[in-house]
Amino acid sequence: MRLGTLTGSIWRGAFVGVLLALAAAPLAAAQQVVCEKCHGNRDFLMGRRGGGPDSSLYVPAAILADTRHASLRCADCHQGYDAGYPHGAQAKVVPCQTCHEAAGRDWAGSIHATNAVTNGDAPTCTGCHGSHKVYGKDDRRSPTHPLNVAATCGRCHADPGIIGTYFATADKAQARTAVAQFYKTVHGSALTRDGLIVSATCSNCHGAHLVLPADSSASTVNRRHIPATCGACHVGIAEVYDRSAHGVAYARGDTTDSGKSAPVCVDCHSAHEIVRADQPQWFLGVVQECGTCHEHLYETYFDTYHGKVTHLGSTLAATCSDCHTPHDMRPMTDPESSVYPANLVATCARCHPAANANFARYRPHGDHRDRANYPVLYWTWRMMTGLLVVVMVFFALHTLLWLTRLAIDAARGGAAGKGHGEAPAGSETRS
């Protein structure tokens, strides 16, 4: 659908451009020469404005030559400039949305447009696309090329001054680090390190024109739209997620008793801190994420060997997603679940190749405090603790009484408490 819209606007734009060019060709050619007289003459402009040679008024007609607007003439965008010199009040720039209707409409609904009314820093079309040198987003020189987007957005979104001025206090901390964090994510490093233009950049998730804050229900990064937004690229994952316990609960809008809704992509993968799932910091992080809802399973996991070595930094032992799958987690009553009884051997065998039905009777969330469900574990634990307490208490008593006896004897100056330093009565002493 997105592709359709894009193709449509390209065709419409091209169509309008061709029409304009054909209709106004003879006139335009003449005009072009006129504009060039001043705006193509660097010395003239410097004299008029006192500016440097790069003054924005220096716009030779050739500047459009290899841009998307190569077929346009100055007057296509700059109308009312031929009424006199210097240009009068009637001179105005034709809004971009005259041709780029869809993009213009989207922008008009965006947070950028809302803010453009009140602050001069919010970007209009030219803020991101440039004014004369407008290239297609597949052109490496374009500020909207995938490899340049983060830098383009970062011109404002990594600027502490702009964030300090325009962002809500609660959002400032995250806003300040968002772009820098992005470069460290798997998406960001795929772009900058690997040069992969298929990797997501700002506009893939936030939209290009209809940019809205995440708390706006129409935003592509609103919770309601996250699976669709990420799923636009991660198609295979989205298919699996949609059928998982989380995906089904999400689609139904289910919430937990404490009001938490089913997790969407960013709950586990975060937004600007996305790390590869084979990185060490991932392992503990994802377990903690699951633990925010599955509190009891989180606790009992850390009672097991799997949990303990993971907690201490090992990446070899199973974490939640190793047994429950990363995206296709389902209740153990679902025959398609990785933890459905009939599927357990295969699940265990992913790490323990020789696992059999006996092996799969291990309780990876066994809870020795839960007498009702794990009586054997409970009584083993009670027995072992009892043994420890009995032995230690008995011998602590033995020791304390011994010390007391020696202290009493020493206070009385008696013989019973003497050490080996003193020779026992009746034996020869040579020390």
């Binding site: 070595v309 092996f359 574990l377 020791t399």
Partner: protein, 283 residues
């Protein structure tokens, strides 16, 4: 005062008498090294949530290296365990002293006298009687010995289950690994709690012996020490005229210093373990 006054077994009347064979001393040194190794590589896992857990595991290069070293120390444990059993079987095979091994004053097997001694000690603690006089092994030494036997059987077997779960799952249901995890950790906790407090007190730290008793390293103790700690054995040998055969030369300076170093290192590490356990439990 003797320059070697630190060693409780070197104080008092001479001569020195042999008490432990080189094999027994070697095995005990292996017990110390492997047990400390097991404790320091296993403790972080048992108390994974403790603030020091990552740090202690980090000493040996992280929890995965700790797991490897834990298994190395387990092998050392099995080696000394079966070497000891083998040496006993060898003695039995030679037939000379089977009966003495299993019963009587030189045996490790608990005797009625041991229970009388235990009660006698409590009577003495309470001022109700004389201090019991011990034979070759007091009931405390026998308890230590059998505790290690029991400990290795329990911790060793549960440890093997957890080391080779896929193999043992051929015969056993998977929940035994849950049970083994609890038994392995809690029994180990008991072992270290006991060794690093009660054993340390009984053998090294009580006022009669403070600060250390090196007899298990040097293998020999003074007659004075024997008269105080094991008077019945001393008198029995005196009457039988076998004391002469046990007379040993004083320990060399080098052996003394090595024994002292090993002894104090083990004592310090043990006390450190108790601190870590208390820290984790109270945290």
């Amino acid at each position: 005062m003797s320059p070697r006054v630190l060693d409780a077994a070197d104080r008092g009347a001479r001569p020195h008498l042999w008490r432990f064979t080189p094999l027994q001393r070697t095995l005990h040194a292996l017990v110390i090294v492997s047990f400390l190794g097991l404790v320091f590589t296993g403790l972080p896992l048992h108390f994974a949530a403790a603030p020091w857990a990552r740090g202690v595991a980090g000493i040996v290069g992280g929890i995965e290296s700790a797991g490897f070293l834990h298994r190395v120390c387990a092998i050392i444990t099995f080696v000394y365990f079966f070497t000891h059993i083998g040496s006993l079987l060898l003695r039995i095979a030679r037939g000379a002293d089977t009966k003495k091994l299993l019963w009587g004053p030189d045996s490790m097997v608990p005797q009625p006298k041991d229970f009388r001694d235990l009660f006698g000690m409590f009577r003495w603690f309470l001022g109700l009687g004389q201090r019991p006089r011990f034979e070759r092994f007091s009931y405390m030494e026998k308890f230590d010995y059998w505790a290690v036997f029991w400990g290795i059987a329990v911790i060793g077997s549960s440890g093997l289950l957890l080391w080779f779960p896929e193999f043992f799952a051929r015969f056993l249901p998977g929940w035994v690994f849950n049970v083994a995890t609890i038994i392995h950790g809690d029994e180990a906790l008991l072992a270290m709690s006991f060794i690093f407090t009660i054993h340390f007190f009984n053998v090294h730290l009580r006022p009669e012996k403070f600060p250390i008793d090196l007899v298990i390293f040097t293998g020999r103790a003074s007659a004075g020490y024997m008269i105080e700690e094991h008077p019945l054995e001393y008198e029995r040998r005196q009457q039988a005229g076998t004391l002469e055969g046990l007379v040993a030369p004083p320990v060399s300076r080098a052996a003394y210093l090595w024994s002292l170093a090993l002894g104090f290192t083990a004592l310090s590490l043990g006390v450190l373990v108790i601190v870590l356990v208390l820290w984790a439990v109270l945290h």
